[in-house]
């Protein structure tokens, strides 16, 4: 090699050394503020490091430099908060290069947690070894943290130390060790947990139960069904907590070849039964396959206590096959009212016209709750107008007070046929029936049903005087503005003053509901009302709600009425309300209105 190339080499090396020294110095300078961070100081340097982490993601070259910067924050001279920040970053990009620095932190109680935070994302055998090694050098809360971290990692190499700790006199530590063992998917871990079951230490029961369930899950997954089922059968014993028993049964049912049909039968047949397990067993009935299943469990119904019968009725109803339907219907004549109610509700949720008879019979139950449930079930029936007609037929087949519950059902269902029937019934000579029918129509009005409105509009335009009146009363109670135009025609054109007043009341009520979101269209409606007013009483009624329409045009509409002595007090109140509501959005208009009010009051004095 000639002297010249040797000199170039030396120069190149020197340059590299100087560059890396400068870079190190630069990076050290950059991390110095971060190393000193404490709450209260600015976190510009922390955000810069976070940007480096972002840039380093997926880039191994940048990652090393970023990691090095974060590791500098773990030096003894850094603040706790700086170390904590660094560990959060190392959790994302840390590598085995961070292990020596984190090792130091693992052995100190005040930093073991943040060190575990850093190691949480590092799936490295060495990281696990460092955690296990630190166990020997820590006590108390620090050791607990390490055990928890080992449970997260769930490495087979942790089994031995965890087994030792599971026998520790510190109950919290022992429980944590047992839970950690449960997380490890290894035969040795499951064997250790089995030994703990046999040891039967009360303080560890919960943790051992949980770990045992996890072990059984792992066994099922790896195909060792015999071992898994054996563990679950153990855990069904009454001595285990109820949630462990539930978990064991659920695991068995889920893994049974027939989805648990035979096992459910066995649970229901057990004497004495385990009520917690019975509920879990019944909850699986909807998912079982085959129509024979519904028949089988339908036959179980009478043998169960009432509370469990209720659950079985619901479970069978969810199956929706003919046998299930038959079993559910049979329970409408059960001796226990809760069971009957469950059956009625289930029928209402799932059936249609064919269920009207059985539900209607329940309307005559001596139990008020049952009658209420039957009504709700009839209201909920599927089947559209076919069901409506079936209910109407049932209504017409009854007389007197027996009709009243079905009138209420029609009002709950709404729609074309029920509305038409209620109109007819509203003309009945029987006062109770007529009143119930009108109440039903008012209820439908509260729901804003468009098809019902069409029926009412047709009746209003028809030749039957009584129906016209009833239809108008219902529309006057209409929720929303859908009935506005019809009512407005009555208000403006019809000579019958009683009907006109009824229409106005309905229009005013509808307008007041719309006051919550006033717009120019609503104000136009108020303008129409005022222009159609035939006296002070009309204007007073309109002003009583106009004040709630917080819109500048509404204010402009109200102001001239201050000059009308017949309605002045109502106009003053409306203007005052509007001015207050518009003070922020329309200050000038509001202020002018208030001044006019004040002037008016002074003049009247």
């Amino acid at each position: 090699m000639n002297v010249l190339s040797q000199q170039w080499r030396f120069l190149a090396c020197a340059t590299l050394v100087i560059a890396s020294t400068v870079q190190a110095a630069d990076t050290a300078a950059q991390t110095a503020p971060a190393a000193a961070y404490e709450s209260g100081g600015d976190c510009v340097s922390l955000r810069q490091l976070e940007q480096q982490i972002r840039d380093a993601a997926g880039d191994s070259g940048r990652r090393a430099a970023c990691e090095a910067a974060l590791l500098r924050l773990l030096d003894d001279g850094s603040t706790f908060e700086a170390k904590r920040f660094a560990c959060s970053g190392l959790a994302v990009i840390g590598s085995e290069a961070s292990l020596p620095a984190l090792d130091r932190l693992l052995k100190r109680e005040e930093t073991v947690g943040i060190a575990c935070l850093a190691l949480g994302g590092l799936r490295s055998a060495q990281a696990g070894e460092r955690l296990r090694a630190a166990l020997a050098e820590t006590r108390g809360a620090a050791r607990l943290q390490l055990v928890s971290a080992l449970g997260t990692r769930a490495e087979a190499a942790s089994v031995e130390p965890l087994v030792q700790l599971a026998n520790d006199t510190d109950a919290a530590l022992a429980c944590a060790a047992v839970r950690a063992l449960g997380a490890i998917d290894a035969r040795e871990a499951r064997t250790a947990v089995a030994a703990l079951r046999r040891k039967d230490t009360p303080a560890l029961a919960g943790a051992v139960g949980a770990a045992s369930l996890r072990g059984a899950e792992q066994s099922f997954v790896c195909g060792d069904r015999t071992a898994a089922a054996a563990v679950c059968e153990e855990l069904l014993a009454p001595a285990w907590p109820v949630n462990v028993r539930r978990g064991a049964l659920t695991l068995l049912l889920r893994n049974d070849g027939d989805l648990g049909a035979q096992r459910i039968k066995a649970v229901l047949s057990e004497k004495p039964s385990d009520p917690a397990l019975v509920a879990v067993a019944i909850s699986r009935v909807p998912a079982l396959r085959g129509e024979g299943v519904s028949k089988l469990f339908g036959e179980f119904l009478p043998r169960l206590p009432p509370g469990e019968q209720v659950l079985m009725v619901e479970a069978l109803a969810a199956r929706e096959d003919a046998a299930a339907q038959s079993a559910v219907r049979s329970q409408t004549s059960a001796t226990d009212p809760a069971v009957r109610c469950a059956a009625l509700t289930a029928i209402g949720e799932r059936e249609g016209a064919s269920a009207v008879d059985v539900l209607s019979r329940a309307l005559t139950s001596p139990t008020p709750d049952e009658r209420k449930v039957a009504q709700a079930a009839l209201a909920a029936l599927k089947g559209g107008e076919a069901t409506d007609q079936a209910i109407i037929d049932a209504l017409r087949a009854r007389t007197g007070d027996d009709q009243l519950p079905l009138l209420a059902v029609l009002s709950m269902r709404g729609g074309r046929l029920p509305t038409a029937e209620l109109l007819t019934q509203g003309c009945a000579s029987d006062e109770a029936r007529a009143r119930a029918a009108l109440q039903g129509l008012v209820r439908i009005a509260g729901g804003g049903d468009a098809t019902a409105l069409a029926v009412l509009q047709e009746a209003l335009a028809g030749g039957d005087n009584r129906k016209q009146e009833i239809a108008l009363r219902a529309m006057a109670a209409w929720r929303g503005l859908a009935a506005w135009d019809t009512l407005a025609k009555v208000y403006v054109h019809i000579g019958d003053e009683a009907r006109r007043t009824l229409a106005l009341r309905g229009l005013v009520r509808a307008a007041s509901e719309a006051d919550a979101a006033p717009d120019a269209r609503l104000v136009e409606r108020y303008r129409q009302l005022l222009s159609g007013a035939r006296g002070a009483d009309d204007r007073k009624l309109i002003l009583s709600v106009l004040g709630g329409a917080a819109h500048p045009d509404a204010l402009a509409l109200a102001l001239p009425l201050l000059d009308d002595p017949a309605v002045r007090p109502q106009a003053e109140e409306a203007v005052a309300r509007l001015a207050k509501a518009l003070a922020t959005s329309h200050p000038e208009a509001a202020q002018a209105a208030l001044l006019r009010l004040q002037r008016g009051k002074q003049e009247s004095k």
Binding site: E38, S39, G40, D42, C43, V44, R47, E50, R54, A57, F80, E81, R84, C87, S88, V92, I93, G113, L117, L119, G120, G121, A141, L144, Q145, A176, R179, A210, P241, V242, N243, R246, G247, T250, P275, A276, V278, A279, S283, P286, G307, V310, L311, E314, T345, E349, K372, Q375, A376, A377, A380, L381, G384, R413, G414, G415, G447, G448, D449, A517
Partner: protein
């Protein structure tokens, strides 16, 4: 349109489905709940609360009004809140029987308690749920149901392991306006669904503040719980939603509701999107603020079906909404007013009047109570809740890494190792189970 379109049921059919069955509680003997000792005197489901801050106080009345619920205990890390909650419950029952616990583990040890309401800060939701499941209690847990995606999966596994009945507090599934919007989308009334767009409000900032001594009435160790130790800083504690290890920001906190709605409408409750990214993120100025979460931005996801999800973080609290956009129209629910708007507007003709708003969680709670008795899954069971939470959790990771991420919903893994590592934060002992 993803999934089959059901037969058009029309307004009356929808109304019928919305009509609650008569509110006659199904009284089930305590023996069915597995309590030792046979039938409970009142046959009610006994509840305890873990965390009784503002959210718990808001939702408690929905529980207390249920005839088959008996509230027997509360636990809380702050003594002032504990006393106030006891007062509220005692006043409801007209006695002084409500038990109080500074340590929720003592509450969970009570045999007479069947179920718990978990309304702590977000950092505790998953872990407390797992503690409760280990103790044999059923769980109603406020959202977001976890802070990291892996702890969410662990929570699901734990509940499955013990047969725990669990309801996430994503009560909008029981809300009339949201149910109606879903029904209209499922019926194809907006055409083929293309985008689910939602908006949550602008994030807050927390100025720098020094650590202070822990107030006497705080059990800060318990408050912090599974979060690795950090000094007590009032701004960090009171503004916990603005920090990654305690809250993860509003796109998570409120966004989880919208993610849940999106999953529900798309019928993807057991899977999720396949891609996540973010845009236009505005972060707090580190010179002024110690808070970490975004102030505003766009969080996006895409499903394998091609449907896009977008959460905008912008605007005011009252401006939040969710909008389902199809190729023939859209339908929107304004969360603040519960108003539903749509194009074409004729869609709204089928909307029944009345019904409960989201602030009334009683329907959601009744679903939970029914499941406690029947042991059937709730409508917002752990898997459903976890999948929804995973969406906003993945958005958070995409935001923090500043890049687009591909996600395998079956394996629950990203295509970037750093992202996978961000799915977990090692919890602090002893607050882990």
């Amino acid at each position: 349109m993803t999934g089959p379109i059901p037969n058009r049921m029309g307004r009356r059919g929808f109304l019928r489905r919305c009509v609650a069955a008569a509110a006659v509680p199904l009284i089930v003997p305590g023996r069915v709940l597995g309590r030792d000792g046979g039938v409970a005197p009142s046959n009610r489901i006994a509840f305890g609360a873990i965390g009784v801050g503002p959210r718990a106080r808001h939702i408690l009345p929905n529980f207390l009004c249920q005839p088959d619920v008996q509230w027997v205990a509360v636990s809380e890390a702050r003594a002032d809140r504990l006393a106030s909650a006891k007062e509220m419950i005692d006043a409801h029952y007209g006695n002084s029987d409500c038990l109080t616990f500074g340590d929720f583990r003592d509450l969970l040890a009570r045999k007479e308690i069947d179920a718990v309401l978990i309304a702590t800060g977000n950092r505790w939701h998953a872990m407390a749920s797992m503690f409760a499941a280990h103790a044999g209690k059923d769980v109603y847990c406020e959202k977001p149901v976890s802070l990291t995606m892996r702890e969410g999966r662990l929570m699901v596994e734990t509940c499955q392991r013990f047969g725990t009945i669990y309801q996430a507090g994503t009560q909008r599934r029981a809300t009339s306006s949201y149910r109606f919007a879903r029904e209209m989308v499922r019926q194809g009334r907006v055409g083929r669904l293309q985008t689910v767009e939602s908006q949550v409000w602008t994030g807050a900032t927390v100025p720098h503040q020094k650590a202070t001594p822990i107030p006497r009435e705080w059990n800060y160790d318990m408050w912090l719980g599974p979060v690795q130790w950090r000094p007590f800083v009032p701004g960090r504690v009171n503004g916990w939603t603005c920090f990654w290890d305690t809250g993860e920001g509003m796109h998570t906190d409120m966004g989880t509701h919208y993610a849940d709605q999106m999953q529900w409408v798309l019928e993807t409750d057991h899977t999720g999107p396949v891609e996540f990214d973010t845009a236009d993120l505005v972060w707090p100025d580190p010179a002024q603020f110690m808070s970490e979460t975004a102030l505003s931005g766009t969080f996006r996801c895409r499903y394998a079906s091609g449907v896009n999800g977008v959460i905008y973080q912008r605007g005011a609290f009252k401006d939040r909404y969710i909008r389902y956009i199809g190729d023939e129209g859209w339908i929107q629910v304004d969360d603040h007013t519960d108003a539903v708007t749509a194009h074409p507007a004729s869609i709204l003709n089928d909307r029944p009047a009345g019904g409960v708003s989201w602030s009334d969680a009683s329907g959601h709670i009744v679903n939970f109570l029914k499941s406690i008795r029947s042991r059937q899954p709730t409508q917002c069971n752990p898997e459903v809740a976890h999948r929804a939470q995973s969406i906003v959790g993945a958005m958070t990771i995409a935001a923090r890494l500043g890049r687009k991420l591909k996600w395998d919903p079956a394996q629950e893994r990203f295509d970037l190792e750093e992202a996978n590592r961000m799915m977990w934060r090692e919890p602090r002992a002893p607050w882990c189970v």
